[in-house]
Symmetry: C2
Subunit: 240 residues, 2 copies
């Protein structure tokens, strides 16, 4: 029996990755003053700095801001001006302060699911930023609990489920990232509803999930969430 | 009846502020190349940038790092070199990666209290950094739950207590900051054990607590924690 539905935040409930990609485009425009942007593989170098810093910083907009500064200093061979470093700080602050736009159909879909199940929001990144986004989204009243975590892996989901005193088979996670939202939950024995977002950070593309896994439903819009939950509930009941 | 004991992390269980103050000393040394450090009130200007950024970023070492970069650009009137900006990034990373040194007597004191009460660790700052510190401290097995929060105010403590289904009068918080650990808990109707640390960040000095509040015990070392808890337990029993 399904007893709890989890939702991811960024790019599941509200737009996020678009702001990061816009920040990255601004980063590249700014660096065009110093280097040939076509030759220097800016994107790959920034991603490499970000990945190295994940181990020190974790995720989030402040991490991206610091990685952009570090990458810009390396890429320009220390020629970047203080004024342009400050511009990178401002680009990062823009990501932190953007308005929260809830995705189309999300409010209705989440309300419909909330009528039948308790909901938990499980979101990754900066505590402060995520809390601000949850508040700005106006969706916080629909969730029994809000879990902001530093990494979405097996042990994180196992901890959250144990705090709810729940077996993984009673839990469905809805999210846009196979890597962070679906794969670890399915590995534990839970269920996943995968709703891809228009754009995905390269880091989140990495996963080893079998696309035909029977414990995963793939949908293309928020309006399909309630029926996907019902399908899984029926399967869960029949011991599937 | 006291039913739950909360502990702060930074500067209560392990050393922290010293690393931030060392980073700030390195910041000032670095800026001495550009400005007269005695004239320019570096300390006040950095604190002003940090306070403004608290509203955008929240607390933590990454916030400090970004504030140092912003303050350095402003203080040097954009003359700081990219190499020195990178040095500020390295100073910030040093704060994030320092070893965790548990304060003298803490392990024994926390173990003694844990024999009689469930414990919760309530700590403020970067999720990723705080999780790493909890792990490195080796104290994580003593706590029933670890709550990493973005701000330690009345509503945060009220939420944590409601998740434990507990009245404030059944809760004692142990910490070094009157502002963050003691004042909000006492205002809610709980109890505080104040154990000052050698140094305190200027921001944490701000509080409006009456020093003679009967719900607060002040102690000077970790070895006094168990007896302070016992005193409060006796008062709590007698309805004090």
């Amino acid at each position: 029996m399904i007893q709890l539905i989890g939702f991811d935040g960024d790019d599941t409930l509200w737009h996020s990755e678009g702001y990061y990609q816009q920040a990255q485009a601004e980063f590249e425009t700014l660096l065009a003053k110093y280097v040939d942007v076509h030759d220097s593989r800016l994107h790959e170098r920034l991603l490499a700095v970000q990945k190295a810093n994940l181990k020190v910083f974790g995720y989030g907009a402040r991490s991206m801001m610091i990685s952009m500064i570090e990458a810009a200093i390396a890429i320009t061979e220390e020629r970047i001006s203080a004024r342009d470093v400050h511009r990178l700080v401002e680009i990062g602050k823009g990501v932190l302060q953007h308005p929260v736009e809830v995705l189309p159909g999300i409010r209705e879909a989440v309300e419909a699911v909330a009528e039948e199940f308790p909901l938990v929001l499980i979101t990754k990144g900066d505590l402060f930023h995520q809390e601000a986004k949850v508040r700005r989204s106006g969706l916080d009243d629909l969730f029994r609990r809000i879990e902001i975590v530093s990494e979405k892996d097996n042990s994180t989901y196992a901890r959250v489920l144990s705090e709810f005193d729940l077996a993984p088979g009673a839990f469905v996670m809805v999210g846009n990232s196979l890597r962070s939202d679906i794969e670890p939950v399915v590995r534990l024995g839970g269920w996943g509803i995968h709703m891809p977002y228009a754009v995905t950070w390269a880091h989140e593309m990495e996963n080893e999930l079998d696309a035909s896994d029977p414990r995963v439903r793939s949908i293309s819009s928020a309006s399909e969430i309630p029926s996907a939950v019902r399908e899984i509930t029926a399967l869960g009941r029949s011991g599937g």
